[in-house]
């Protein structure tokens, strides 16, 4: 692992994975997808993860994002062991700590952009007053530069605009860490760059970012580039080249 020089020594890590394993029960026999993954991410740090299709990148992100639990290894979030966390607490952490962006935008087409963003504010822990809610939604939309489209519904937005609505939805709760799984996969290069810009600017405010991508140019804009291979994470050569 490359030494992390951007962080002062002793700063608590945002995420610390060690020896994470995950076996998925396929159609025929179980397959070990992750076989001892180690990863440490600090606040404000950005990490790119490359890897062949089917190497387990999405599986890894779903463990980090607490969609699923690892079979083995240790997962520390802000120095707390959450390897075996219960679903109730996981839901609360997903809401409070994480923001998600996916290749498919997962917007609800009968809600406006603003309502799609506001969706992330509804989590059962309470209900913000309408004015506060609106202010935060608009702020998030402004961060990705599409506040003027707040009232539009997704079918009337371009792909890049839709993905930026999704990013605003991920940002609206001020997450500690953003997880992006091929967010530019469905976009052309230029639009993809806009999306990466939006994600990148979040790290400048102290947010951690883990970006799964096939695009080396995008990967090289991150602070570190890793490759997932044979169930393990290792530094990628591209970073050295770049």
């Amino acid at each position: 692992m490359s030494p992390d020089l951007t962080q002062p020594i002793g700063t608590p890590a945002l995420i610390r994975l060690s020896g994470i394993t995950k076996t998925l029960k396929g159609q025929q026999q179980p397959r070990t997808i992750l076989d001892g993954v180690d990863l440490t991410v600090h606040s404000g740090e950005s990490v790119a993860i490359l890897g062949r299709s089917g190497s387990g990148k999405s599986t890894l992100l779903s463990l980090i994002g607490l969609f699923d639990r690892p079979d083995g290894g240790q997962y520390m979030l802000e120095e707390q062991d959450i390897s075996r966390i219960a679903e109730r607490r996981a839901a609360a952490l997903r809401s409070a700590r994480f923001g998600f962006v996916f290749q498919r935008f997962f917007l609800l087409k009968n809600l406006t952009a603003a309502q799609n963003v506001a969706m992330a504010l509804v989590n059962g822990q309470g209900w913000l007053p309408r004015r506060k809610r609106r202010a935060r939604v608009l702020e998030a939309l402004e961060q990705v530069g599409i506040a003027h489209l707040a009232k539009n519904k997704p079918p009337k937005l371009s792909g890049g605009e839709q993905q930026r609505v999704a990013i605003a939805r991920a940002l609206v709760r001020d997450p500690r860490i953003l997880l992006a799984d091929e967010p530019t996969g469905a976009l052309d290069t230029e639009t993809g760059n806009l999306v990466i810009d939006a994600l990148h600017s979040a790290t400048e405010r102290g947010c951690g970012l883990i970006l799964v991508t096939h695009d080396h140019a995008h990967a090289n804009r991150m602070g570190r580039v890793l490759r997932l291979q044979d169930g393990k994470l290792a530094p990628a050569h591209q970073q050295v080249v770049a």
Binding site: D68, A92, S95, G124, Q125, D181
Partner: protein, 434 residues
């Protein structure tokens, strides 16, 4: 607490959004459920009406719930004792039932024995027995047939309507406050009124054991609930007593009955003691408390159960409709639910969202069914109100509304439970994989 209500609100708001986003689907769910909820509303409303009607009838023919009813065989001392004991009491009324014939004197009445006028085959033989067990054939008096009507004349010591729910048909009821009239004012029941419209009889009234015949004035007609029991007439006891001695009021064939308010236990004891002191056999004085409601409810319980069972079946079919639509909708919304879970919506809230959609659908259906039921009752009342007086001013019973709401909620709960569980079980990792 705050957390719970926050979740509840969230579920309702998001559920409402879901309903608005799928209006046609909600409408179809409501259609499938409508008949079932309507059936429950109608059955409940119908049984409320039936109960009310039966209860009103019981109050007319017997007495209101809780009333103490005392009765005894004829005894010559009974009437004087009762008159004396009840004097000035507002919470009890004595009824002395005597045979009377109104019309030509010394003829056989058109309805010997005070029989109903429309008895199939005409009035037949009728035997009358006195309290010594001597029976005579009353239909063979030897007197020539003439223009006279025989009826049961009930002399009242006070207004009986607080105890029995008489319904005024026409004219007036007896006025107990005015000065007694020498010509006894009488109020007929409907069967007696039928006789008097059918047969023209002279206004002369002969009462068994009377001192002389009087000239009665008919002042009104009431529905006393006992139409099938033959012609009756009601009269103020003091007006009748101008024409007969108190002992005659309860002698021979005359019967005494006292109705007392539920609280008049003291009066019951006093009256009983005095009657016994006067020579009436204690074992022959019967007292019972009217419990019409219980009897009516017993009668109706079985019917209500059967009809509610059928309604529940229709409701179940409607519930299957909601379930079907609900499952299809959850299947379509897998991504939405996975996404909601991903952004931190707890499973319980997700289930709540789905449930609140079906519950709201059930509630809206209940609203529609209750509205339809209320309109139907209004329409029915205005169409048939003139033929059935009891229907004239019916109101939609609140119990039917409650039943409709409960039916809607139960259907929503049953139809939404499985979809809700499915929604809560959607795995995020599988759905959100890119």
């Amino acid at each position: 607490m705050i957390r719970m209500s926050g979740r509840f609100r969230s579920a309702l708001i998001i559920g409402g959004q879901g309903i608005r986003a799928r209006k046609l689907r909600t409408l179809l769910s409501m259609l499938s459920l409508f008949l079932g909820v309507l059936a429950v509303v109608v059955v409940q409303a119908g049984s409320e009406f039936a109960q009310k009607e039966l209860l009103a009838d019981a109050e007319r023919s017997m007495a209101k719930d809780g009333t103490l009813q005392m009765y005894m065989p004829p005894h010559e001392k009974a009437a004087p004792v009762a008159l004396e004991t009840l004097r000035g009491r507002q919470d009890a009324v004595a009824m002395f039932e005597n045979r009377a014939i109104i019309g030509e004197p010394n003829v056989a009445p058109v309805n010997p024995g005070g029989a109903p006028f429309d008895q199939p085959g005409g009035p037949g033989r009728f035997y009358r027995c006195d309290n010594r067990g001597n029976c005579t054939d009353a239909s063979q008096t030897g007197a020539p047939p003439g223009k006279a009507i025989e009826l049961n004349l009930v002399a009242l010591t006070g207004d009986i309507r607080p105890f029995r729910g008489f319904r005024q048909d026409s004219g007036q009821w007896l006025d107990f406050a005015s000065a007694p009239s020498l010509a006894p004012r009488i109020v007929l029941n409907k069967e007696a009124a039928k006789g008097f419209t059918r047969y023209q009889v002279p206004a002369q009234m002969h009462v068994d054991n009377g001192t002389a015949d009087s000239t009665p004035q008919i002042i009104g007609v009431v529905d006393d609930g006992g139409a099938s029991y033959g012609p009756m007439a009601y009269v103020r006891a003091d007006e009748l007593l101008n024409w007969m001695k108190p002992v005659a009021l309860s002698d021979g064939n005359a019967r005494l009955q006292v109705l007392m308010s539920p609280q008049a236990r003291d009066l019951e004891q006093t009256l009983k003691a005095r009657l016994v002191a006067a020579g009436v056999q204690a074992g022959e004085i019967y007292v019972n408390r009217i419990n019409a409601r219980e009897r009516v409810e017993d009668q109706l319980a079985m019917m209500r159960l059967i009809f509610l069972g059928m309604a529940a079946l229709v409701l179940l079919i409607g519930t299957a409709g909601i379930l079907n639509v609900g499952l299809a909708t959850v299947g379509e919304r897998i991504e939405e639910f996975a996404l909601r879970r991903a952004v931190g919506t707890p499973r319980i809230l997700l289930a709540g969202i789905v449930l609140s959609e079906t519950l709201l659908t059930g509630l809206m259906t209940a609203g529609a069914a209750i509205g339809a039921g209320a309109l139907g009752i209004k329409a029915g009342a205005s169409m048939f109100g003139s033929r059935f007086p009891s229907l004239a001013n019916v109101e939609f019973p609140w119990q039917a509304g409650v039943a409709g709401v409960v039916a809607g909620l139960v259907a929503g709960l049953l139809g939404g439970l499985i979809p809700a569980i499915r929604a809560a079980r959607i795995p995020i990792a599988t759905v959100m994989r890119a």
